[in-house]
């Protein structure tokens, strides 16, 4: 039998709470993290709401040594580094207890954060404006290059690379083993944790810092998702804008943050007497390989990911007490996901399935990691996190979505789903230790 993998620490930076204790209380209370956007002037934007991390409560510098490293981090890298520091503290893994070369990083990450955009895009746009020819609209590339070089601090170039968040995490944690970044959009966090599980199972590492991070509440990020028609435009009522499975849902609320877990080989966790939060028991992933934004009919590939995850854990559908849905709150996702879980659970009663995105927002590359964190803490504290803002049932989404209030329940095992644009489907299973 394969050796088990334990989750021994969790750190979160989210719109509803920083640190697992505050996050747990917010989930239990059904708090919304959605507000009017403060990160930039969004006047005239179709969507003017988001779930931001409160900068008055988040000081990246307090998690970083030496302090100047903060300057080299994008906002998303800083979130990941902070979440990893919290997870490490909870795991009580001391320096030297595990060979640094046996400590890996597996991180779901997206693009650049707003700080990078100020430095790169902001100055880039200024450079473009002054390099545009008088007689034609074509960009004068040599003039652009001169202007860009004059205006742009070279350190901002490195800050924008997607792999740098995982590099910073490794520097801070002295994790010298395999260091991977997964960029499968909305399923990245889930896949990164799944691939972290595999890194331990195949023997490449004994400890993995696994999770996801993202920070896309910037003009380009919000405009982009808005142009794709995926964002809620309920600007007059942000706290009620994210309403997965509700008939009046009109898209997701973009969020930002990170969750990192310390995954550990069972023997290593036992040898050092670690407190185990849950077993990371299974992982399944597939790709639709069909269309960019549409799923295969019958959600066939998503169904397969869920079944592969159950098989991987040696579990059956009947063992599952709770599903944390991808549950974005777009019209299409929630219908397709309902179809997928019903098909995957064919013959077994469908367990409660809630969307914590109703509270946290959609954290994109961090979503799956933050949602697994919500699932683990629910298992530890015997409650199912709710789907808030559920008022009008949608006949196409007939699930018990734990409407509006957390429910006391003891979970033996639970799933967390993530589906990305591009067709990547991923599912994780945790089991009570």
């Amino acid at each position: 039998m394969t050796e088990r993998v334990a989750i021994t620490g969790i750190g979160v930076v989210t719109p509803i709470g920083i640190g697992i204790a505050d996050f747990t209380e917010a989930l239990r209370a059904g708090c919304s993290g959605a507000r009017w956007i403060t990160a930039f002037n969004c006047e005239g934007f179709e969507t003017q709401i988001a779930a931001e991390v409160d900068d008055r409560r988040f000081d990246a510098g307090s998690y970083v040594e030496p302090r100047k490293m903060v300057k080299h981090m994008s906002r998303s890298a800083a979130f990941a580094v902070a979440a990893a520091a919290m997870a490490r503290r909870e795991s009580r893994l001391r320096p030297g207890e595990v060979d640094p070369y046996r400590m890996a990083v597996s991180l779901g990450a997206g693009g650049m954060g707003p700080v990078d955009l100020d430095l790169l895009t902001g100055q880039g746009v200024a450079a473009i404006a002054s390099a545009r020819g008088q007689e034609s609209d074509e960009l004068d590339i040599p003039a652009f290059a001169r202007e860009f070089r004059a205006r742009t601090n070279p350190i901002s170039v490195l800050r924008g690379l997607p792999n740098l968040a995982a590099a910073h995490l490794a520097i801070q944690q002295d994790a010298r083993g395999p260091n991977n970044t997964i960029t499968t959009a909305c399923s990245a966090g889930t896949q990164a944790i799944g691939e972290g599980l595999r890194a331990i199972q195949r023997g490449d590492a004994d400890v993995v810092f696994a999770g996801g991070t993202d920070a896309m509440i910037n003009p380009v990020g919000v405009l982009g998702f808005s142009m794709l028609g995926t964002l809620s435009q309920r600007n007059d009522d942000p706290e009620h804008a994210s309403r997965p499975f509700d008939a009046s849902r009109d898209g997701f609320v973009i969020g930002e943050g990170a969750a990192i877990m310390v995954l550990e080989r069972e023997a290593v966790a036992r040898a050092r007497g670690a407190t185990v939060l849950a077993e990371l028991a299974g992982y399944g992933c597939t790709c639709d390989a069909y269309r960019i934004t549409d799923e295969r009919p019958g959600a066939e590939a998503a169904v397969r990911a869920i079944r592969l995850c159950l098989e991987d854990a040696g579990a059956s559908a009947a063992d599952i007490a709770y599903i944390n849905a991808h549950g974005t709150g777009t019209q299409m996702n929630d219908v397709t996901e309902t179809t997928a879980v019903k098909t995957a659970f064919n013959g077994s009663g469908l367990p409660p399935m809630s969307s914590t995105k109703s509270m946290i927002g959609h954290l994109l590359a961090a979503a799956g990691a933050v949602e697994l964190a919500a699932t683990v803490t629910g298992m530890l504290h015997d409650f199912l996190p709710p789907t808030i803002n559920f008022e009008v049932p949608d006949p196409a989404c007939e699930v018990d979505c734990v409407p509006n209030a957390a429910r006391s329940a003891r979970m033996g095992a639970a799933l967390s789903n993530s589906f990305g644009f591009g067709g990547q489907n991923a599912c994780l299973m945790i089991r009570r230790w």
Partner: protein, 101 residues
């Protein structure tokens, strides 16, 4: 303590460069003395790019990074660069670049 702008054109650049080094390495000015090793304060190669970019802003002209590298190789031959570069060395370079005609 504000730096007198007229001094930047002709005088000792120790004050402004000390401020830049403190900003770049996110330490206090008091931690940056003329013989302080920047490496000991955590500086790595990327930080010197940041440093040169900010020196350019103070002296008002572009400084190719290659010139910094040539200066260091000539000034500190064979030295352990992670230790040997001090505030005084950076000031010397900044003044040399400012005075270049």
């Amino acid at each position: 303590m504000p730096d007198d702008p007229s001094l930047v054109a002709t005088g000792d650049l120790t004050g402004p460069v000390r401020g830049i080094v403190a900003d770049v390495l996110m330490v206090s000015r008091a931690d940056v003395q003329p013989d302080t090793s920047l490496g000991a304060l955590g500086a790595e190669s990327i930080d010197f790019l940041d440093l040169i970019f900010r020196i350019e802003e103070v002296i008002g002209k572009k400084v190719p990074v290659s010139r910094w590298e040539a200066f260091i190789n000539a000034r500190l031959p064979g030295a352990d660069l992670s230790r040997a570069i001090t505030l005084a060395i950076v000031v010397e370079f900044a003044e040399q670049e400012r005075n270049r005609t």
